[in-house]
């Protein structure tokens, strides 16, 4: 029995199906259905965000915090300012963890003519050392705030089960100063690459919070490059999920077309909110980012990484000055329904949860960033076949599409869930 030819170096199982005769491509997602949206029905509210991080081991904190946002919105829980700051640090750590893994181990090696991160340790030891140090830093932050590097433990409805001490925060502050240089190194690496020049207009979606900070946890409104500005509570009227007969993941559409979420989309909608060096790095590449080229998502991630380091630093200053409020906000489970969202490594993550009076789940819907990007990826792949890939052999076409898919940093495990 022959098995599918799964795409290498992406999270989860998928296959590019190239129709050579008609010069079209589709992306078949072949991950098994774990049925998380059914699995958590009847579970208690405080089990949901313990179970759903298992959707993705690359971005478990993202799932934990977006799920918590839905629970807290449903029960009307508001967090203390220090818990908000800690959640932002935790998500910043998550985004660094994920971006580092993606850039150094999955996506960029092929631009160096190398197959794997393990090979990079021999061919480009400077890059490898930077990757390992950044990963160790972000793992350490995730562990100190969230209890563990993969699958967080401490976050709970209304705050955290365990809060870091002032010594913990000072230690992170010291380490943050050390990795700033590595953030710049990552930027220089990604900025030195010549990306395939794909140009195709699309709509870029991002969610933002109630203030003017760079969008991260607890976002509340969806905005787009075509002027959309709506509450996340209305997400289901904006995003339609289509079931395909060749995929176990649903493909998202807006007005019958693809749209894009993620680092590049955040730049399109919120680059003026970037902190410190990330802002300057964006400005240097402003012209390049004005092209609608999905391959540039890699560069956007490398710049964003610098933002997240600066974000950790900023929130630490606040916590070291104001101290950590160790209370957990009180709440009463009630019959309710709410949407929670966050801007996570690959884009916007939505959780919609409904509860009965005992705080047990009666309905769950989760739309992951990759599920939102799938239609756009296929549209881009077909554009490649018509333009920059037109005169290439079927093998080369496939390679170029693989490169495109990796630029999106897709998580197929997430997209099926």
């Amino acid at each position: 029995m022959s098995l599918p030819n799964y795409i290498a170096k992406i999270e989860g199982h998928g296959e590019i199906q190239l129709d050579v005769e008609n010069n079209t491509a589709r992306l078949a997602i072949l991950e098994g259905e774990r049925l998380f949206e059914g699995m958590i029905v009847q579970k208690r509210h405080n089990e949901t965000y313990w179970i759903t991080p298992r959707i993705c081991g690359v971005c478990p904190i993202a799932h934990n915090l977006a799920c918590l946002a839905a629970v807290e919105n449903a029960f009307g829980v508001s967090l203390s300012p220090s818990s908000v700051a800690l959640r932002r640090i935790l998500l910043a750590a998550q985004n660094i963890q994920s971006h580092v893994l993606h850039l150094y181990f999955l996506s960029l090696p092929e631009y160096l003519g190398v197959d794997s991160g393990v090979e990079i340790s021999k061919t480009h030891p400077v890059h490898f050392k930077a990757a390992v140090a950044l990963r160790a830093f972000s793992d350490m932050v995730a562990e100190t705030i969230g209890g563990r590097a993969v699958h967080p433990i401490t976050p709970t409805t209304g705050g955290f089960h365990k809060y870091p001490s002032q010594d913990d925060l000072k230690m992170i502050k010291k380490e943050t100063a050390k990795v700033k240089k590595l953030g710049e190194h990552t930027y220089n690496f990604a900025a030195g690459i010549i990306y395939p020049d794909l140009r195709r207009g699309t709509e870029y979606f991002t969610t933002v919070g109630d203030d003017d900070s760079y969008p991260m946890t607890n976002t509340s409104r969806v905005i787009s490059t075509k002027g959309l500005n709506q509450s996340i509570q209305e997400y289901s009227s904006l995003i339609k999920e289509k079931v395909k007969d060749y995929s176990t993941a649903k493909f998202s559409e807006h007005n019958g077309r693809g749209f894009m979420v993620g680092s590049l989309a955040r730049f399109k909608n919120a680059h003026d909110r970037l902190l410190g060096p990330a802002r300057e790095m964006y400005d240097k590449n402003k012209e390049l980012f004005s092209h609608h080229n999905s391959f540039l998502n890699n560069l956007a991630q490398a710049i964003e990484l610098n933002h997240f380091i600066a974000e950790i630093d900023k929130q630490l200053d606040f916590l070291l000055k104001e101290g950590v409020d160790e209370k957990i906000a009180e709440f009463q489970p009630r019959e309710s329904r709410a949407v929670g969202s966050a801007e996570v490594p690959r884009g916007t993550l939505y959780y919609e949860l409904a509860f009965d009076n005992d705080g047990r789940v009666t309905y769950a819907n989760i739309i992951t960033p990759t599920a939102q990007n799938l239609t756009n990826i296929e549209e881009d792949a077909n554009e490649i076949l018509k333009t920059i890939g037109k005169d290439k052999s079927p093998e080369e076409k496939k390679d170029l599409i693989e490169k495109l898919i990796r630029a999106y940093d897709p998580c197929l495990s997430c997209s099926v869930h």
Partner: protein, 265 residues
Amino acid sequence: MAIKRKRKTNIINKKKADKIKLGIFDMTDCEGCEVVLVSLGAQIVDFFKHVEIIDWRLGQKMKKDDDLDIALIEGSPITGDEIEQLKQIREKTKVLVALGACAAIGGIPAIVEKDQREGMYNAIYGAGYKPLGIDSLPLAAYVKVDFSIHGCPVDGEEVVRILNEVKSGKAPQYRGYSVCYDCKQKENPCRLLEGKACLGPITQGGCKAVCVSGGLPCWGCFGSRKEANIPALMEILEKQMNKKEMADFFGTFLKATPEYKRYFK
């Protein structure tokens, strides 16, 4: 389905100069255990120095059609293709190691039972959907597993310890203690004595009690110890929760295990 507890473990018998042939595979899952491998950084690269990676889809494009000394397999074989792939790997592998809770004991995906799937497909995908999934079971439902590295996710240091034992031709051993021992080392107060839920006493140790240290109960993701006195723990928990809640609690990671079936079915 039964997970065999007592079996003769295959071991590697190699000359020192020969490189170990390794394959790392993922079935359907979160890939978090592979992320733990990557997080080991220089430590895992040191291990790889004595190893030839024959196949690792997440890490590299290159793969060879070759026999394997060690296969590390993560995740749940949910689709027909995955079950087939798993059987093919078994045929060409000397020591097959389950990596993490999904592969070893079923874990979170096994919360969904086979007869619930159709209703869930209808609710999530709509009527008429043609699923790829068959069932969420651990690897041992389909092939012989030589050793399991437990945890959701696995603990990095445990992975290094166990892989080094396998590499040097030993049959790896579990830690001879439960999570309670890990917990004492972390100086955590006992949750059960405080009237809070915990599966620590029946659970295989080696996790450093991260969950209890972080304010949660032990949910048993390292699997039950062979000597575990489950009825004694159930007696304590009965004072805190009803039978359904207890089944849910045990069933978070252990639903596909013989222990769960024995006490809660």
